[in-house]
Symmetry: C2
DNA sequence: CCAAAAGTGTTACTCGTACACCCATGT
DNA sequence: ACATGGGTGTACGAGTAACACTTTTGG
């Protein structure tokens, strides 16, 4: 059964992914209800082990696809977790990613270990609009999620990362709502973004282009935009 | 001989460290002349394998100490390198660190594989004041060093990272020279720092404190400063 | 007295931020 | 007609970047 032998001890290397999406205007993260010990019944981040024929980014993309069906999403590596006994079973080093997916394009599927994947609102995991995760998660995943949230907040405005939360075409109001749903969890965040400043910022940084057409949702129709090529 | 067996393949996990210092006003990096195949005779970054009782940061600190004698230096994790065949011998995933040490406090020592450690000026590895590494290094270490340099440039001014290059007490001119020795390799860098702006910046950000005493070096004596506690 | 590095303020500009009103449409 | 979200410009303050001369010492 144990087919792989080495002269020195080696850790298993895994990627853990904090997959975020927007549902009903609220930021959610995809979590797995563990079906086995250890931490049976607890929530954990999806993830899986690195294979010999892939690098870490490919591994994260593969796991993301296997567990959410999402393809080509924005993936961002943000940290390594290597404390010796973070997994009670055996030695595991995890590389943590965060991913942003558009709820419309995703269907959660049961993972390879037949555990259920669910969208959990951040508000159920953190209290008081701070990135402090108070919920109990399996392994050190509370710590990982906390760092993911912190990274996400820090980069929400700096890069075009929010675009991952949006459908292919979107209005600027939707985009602003997405940013606000993120920065709500910022440690320093007021949680409010000025509409005119946001629109000036978004047109200066050439992250989006007019996509033509109007959205008939709401009262007055709004211009549709799309992410500019170069960074899907 | 092969005492460790696992059900699935596992990579060896290593840390590779780009150790920078200042010698004669020039930025140098510590490299090992490999004594064995593969890449025998070529230069490589120092590094070593993760042990079961330590996390990645400890591993990097240990390797740094073993190969340079430096202790308590500033270590910054900046990337993972996991391409499947980056090591021709077997499967290795590397976590890359950069470290800044003060030349005065360091004695390079031969590593465990009895290979020689040498300080190599960046100007011998890169041409044209850009962080592009043109020298041939073992494995993918040119790529790693390139990313290390890019990170270093990006953070030279943003954080107190340069303080690692300086002795315990230093003058502001020395500190500015250290910053300039780094940003010289910046992709966007003019390579010049304004003296008055630098001094205002360094006193606003409370990174240093007056250490008392004057340096007799140079013509007119200069105030001595030291890194403020909280961040050595 | 001359060479060489230390030390010191002000101005212009850019960027971020705060703020209020009219417009187009569906009901 | 009115309620709802879409869309627009300006003024102030903070932070950044450009700029030159006097001071202190050793030779």
């Amino acid at each position: 059964m144990k087919k792989y032998s080495y002269e020195y001890a080696r850790p298993a290397v895994a990627t853990d992914i904090a997959v975020f999406t927007l549902r009903g205007g609220e930021l959610h993260v995809a979590l797995i209800r563990r079906g086995q010990e250890p931490f049976k019944g607890m929530l954990a981040l999806p993830g899986g082990f690195l294979r010999e024929d892939e690098d870490l980014d490919s591994c994260a993309a593969r796991e993301l696809h296997e567990e959410t069906g999402a393809q080509g999403a924005r993936l961002l590596q943000f940290g390594n977790f290597s404390e010796p006994n973070r997994d009670p079973r055996y030695w595991v080093v995890s590389v943590a990613y965060l991913a942003l997916v558009s709820a419309e394009l995703v269907q959660l599927v049961a993972g390879s270990d037949a555990a259920a994947v669910e969208w959990v609102p951040i508000s159920e995991l953190c209290h008081k609009a701070k990135p402090k995760v108070v919920a109990k998660l399996a392994f050190d995943h509370a710590k990982i999620l906390e760092k993911a949230l912190t990274e996400l907040c820090a980069r929400a405005l700096a890069t075009g990362i929010v675009l991952g939360l949006l459908p292919e075409k979107f209005t600027l109001s939707q985009m602003q709502a997405a940013v606000e749903a993120i920065v709500k969890w910022s440690p320093t965040g007021s949680g409010q973004v000025d509409k005119r400043n946001f629109r000036r910022w978004v047109t200066n940084t050439k992250l989006v282009r007019k996509a033509g057409g109007m959205s008939p949702t709401g009262r007055r129709p709004a211009q549709l935009y799309a992410a500019r090529e170069g960074r899907k």
